[in-house]
């Protein structure tokens, strides 16, 4: 097993790293000082563009380019929203960063705010992360006392406030436009794009929204240069990535590794292989919104391009490992139940489509399925696809379509025999 240099997780288990004193001892807030004292906002953006850093929330859009879309010469405030509404099933990386490295996120937020000319930044954290929110509040108080937040930071005329805002338990608010609607105090309905948030976002003002992990990379890019960052990973997927490994592996957890690491290595070398000596059946490589790969496809590399070529996506890099004992109809039912529950109800294809898919999967799972149900499921997928305001509708499709494509025999067995092809033994000891 090769030991790769960790960038975000270097001090993650260092005692006291969540406090400002230890964070500063370990080189914290040097990047902010460098940016404020020796770089113009444009130079900061330029460095991030050079790094090739792509959004870590799922879409993979280049962060620096997103910032450069802000219109010039508009007489309105610019807002920065930190998307800490981590809720893609399988993903638990931002939570670890927030709880253990809150100052890294604050520093990344401050540098980004400086680059985009923002004076008020919001951290929208999912409501259930009570501890995470308290860690952030504590870190913000410490940073304010240390002179990193407030007015005229480091005497450079940079005024900035950061507000921690807790969500209310809605997956949809991780979608960037729903996040803004929610932050404005409304039910979390996504908005039609364009206009894009950079032009008209929070309160109708130019707004940049970035994921927690994305922003945590920014201080390191400023300290060590965009070129250094671009030398890590693959040419188009630069840097390291935190992979959230869960399911049937011996050592689940967050692993920070260079982009492009083979999926097989992640599962067998870092994750210690499949639990209880079972065989691998399937892997979902990027959160439950992306198509599952069958066991024979795990030599694929984990980066945006390689996974797209393999017919799936890197998404949030949440790798869910499924062993041979799992019934894929049941897995599809579980994931569809999630999307049905979390659909905001605004668009008919998503609201109704997820409802009917769940009903059909429920009857197949419980032995009342009909052979024509399978085509019906695929038809509903086509009716949702591309017909909704936000990506939640599309995200509900792979759970059904990819499992039907790769494990159709399990569906047919269910319909013919009224039960699962496999039996998952007890898992709760």
């Amino acid at each position: 097993m090769i030991e790769f240099e960790k960038i975000l997780f270097r001090y993650i288990d260092h005692p006291g790293q969540d406090g400002i004193e230890t964070y500063v001892q370990n080189g914290g807030y040097q990047a902010l000082e460098k940016a404020l004292k020796s770089m113009s906002p444009e130079e900061v953006t330029e460095e991030v563009i050079k790094s090739g850093l792509r959004g870590r929330g799922g879409a993979g859009f280049p962060a620096g380019r997103k910032w450069s879309f802000l219109p010039k010469g508009v007489n309105k405030p610019v807002y920065l929203c930190v998307n800490a509404d981590e809720s893609e099933p399988g993903t638990f990386k931002d939570r670890e960063l927030i709880e253990k490295e809150p100052h890294m996120l604050i520093e990344g937020t401050l540098i980004t705010a400086y680059a985009i000319g923002c004076r008020t930044a919001f951290i929208y954290i999912r409501g259930e992360f009570v501890f995470g929110a308290s860690q952030l509040k504590k870190a913000i108080d410490e940073a304010r006392a240390g002179g990193y937040i407030g007015s005229n930071v480091m005497g450079k005329g940079f005024d900035i406030e950061i507000i921690v805002h807790r969500g209310g338990g809605a997956y949809i608010c991780g979608e960037e436009t729903a996040l803004m609607t929610s932050l404005e105090g409304h039910q979390g309905y996504p908005r039609v794009k364009p206009p894009f948030p950079a032009v008209s976002g929070l309160y109708g003002c130019p707004t940049i929204i970035n994921n927690v992990e994305t922003l945590c990379n920014v201080p390191h890019i400023i300290n060590r240069g965009g070129e250094w960052f671009a030398s890590l990973g693959t040419p188009k997927s630069t840097g390291t990535k935190i992979f959230s490994l869960s399911g049937h592996v011996n050592k689940p957890g967050n692993y920070e590794l260079p982009m492009g690491i083979p999926l097989r290595e992640l599962i067998y070398e870092y994750g210690g292989g499949i639990k209880d000596g079972h065989n691998l059946k399937a892997v979902i490589p990027g959160g439950s919104s992306v198509p599952a790969l069958t066991a024979d496809k795990i030599d694929v590399r984990l980066d945006f391009e390689s996974l797209a070529e393999a017919g799936t996506m890197l998404g949030s890099a949440a790798v869910i490992v499924i062993d041979e004992t799992v019934c894929m109809v049941k897995a599809a039912y579980n994931m569809t139940r999630f999307y049905q529950h979390e659909s905001c109800g605004q668009c008919t294809p998503c609201r109704q489509g997820t409802y009917w898919m769940l009903k059909i999967l429920d009857r197949i799972e419980h032995g009342r399925g009909e052979p024509e149900d399978l085509d019906q499921l695929l038809e509903i997928c086509s009716n949702i696809e591309g017909n909704t305001i936000c990506p939640l509708g599309d995200a509900a499709i792979p759970a059904v379509r990819a499992t039907l494509q790769n494990f159709r025999d399990e569906y047919e067995y269910h319909i013919a025999n009224g039960k699962c092809m496999t039996t998952m033994g007890p898992r709760f000891e």
Partner: protein, 161 residues
């Protein structure tokens, strides 16, 4: 059902915090929930008055977001994650175990009002499943012995309160 001094102080802070007053809605719901364990109409009315927003804004949000139950739950509100990664690690068995130990149905409250039990979607704790959230705390990597011990400790704590 009066708002505590702490809640009033926090609501007043929230009122001036955002560029738009309505933005305080979610945080205000948290304040009310934290004090009472549910969001009741009377408390929402009082909060709306402090924030100087229509009470409808608070009610509308409370009906959309899942974290603001309108009725009182148990003293210890147990939420079990049921999403895929946790199911792969035994969340269904955990739920059955809890129903059996607490003698309560999913969605119910125990007779003594100490525990309420509910299943929820992904809590972002997928590497440490099966898991549950009890009030503000996460309990992870659960097995039978560990879960039983947690219930016992909370029962004791409820008795001594």
């Amino acid at each position: 059902m009066e708002l505590s001094e702490k809640s009033i102080k926090e609501l007043n802070r929230l009122k001036g915090l955002y560029p738009s007053r309505r933005s305080a809605v979610l945080m205000a719901l948290h304040v009310v929930y934290d004090q009472f364990g549910f969001v009741g109409s009377e408390a929402l009315g009082a909060a709306a008055e402090i924030l100087e927003i229509p009470v409808m804004d608070l009610q509308e949000a409370a009906s959309f977001y899942t974290m603001f139950p309108r009725r009182k739950a148990g003293k210890y509100h147990i939420q079990v994650c049921r999403t895929l990664s946790c199911e792969l690690r035994g969340s269904e068995e955990l739920m059955r175990f809890l129903m059996e130990k607490l003698k309560v149905e999913m969605g119910g409250v125990t007779e003594d009002g100490v525990f309420s039990l509910t299943e929820v979607e992904c809590l972002g704790s997928c590497g440490t499943g099966p898991m549950m959230q009890i009030n503000d705390m996460y309990y992870e990597n659960l097995n039978r012995a560990k879960t039983e011990k947690i219930l016992k400790e909370l029962r004791e704590r409820a008795k001594n309160d």
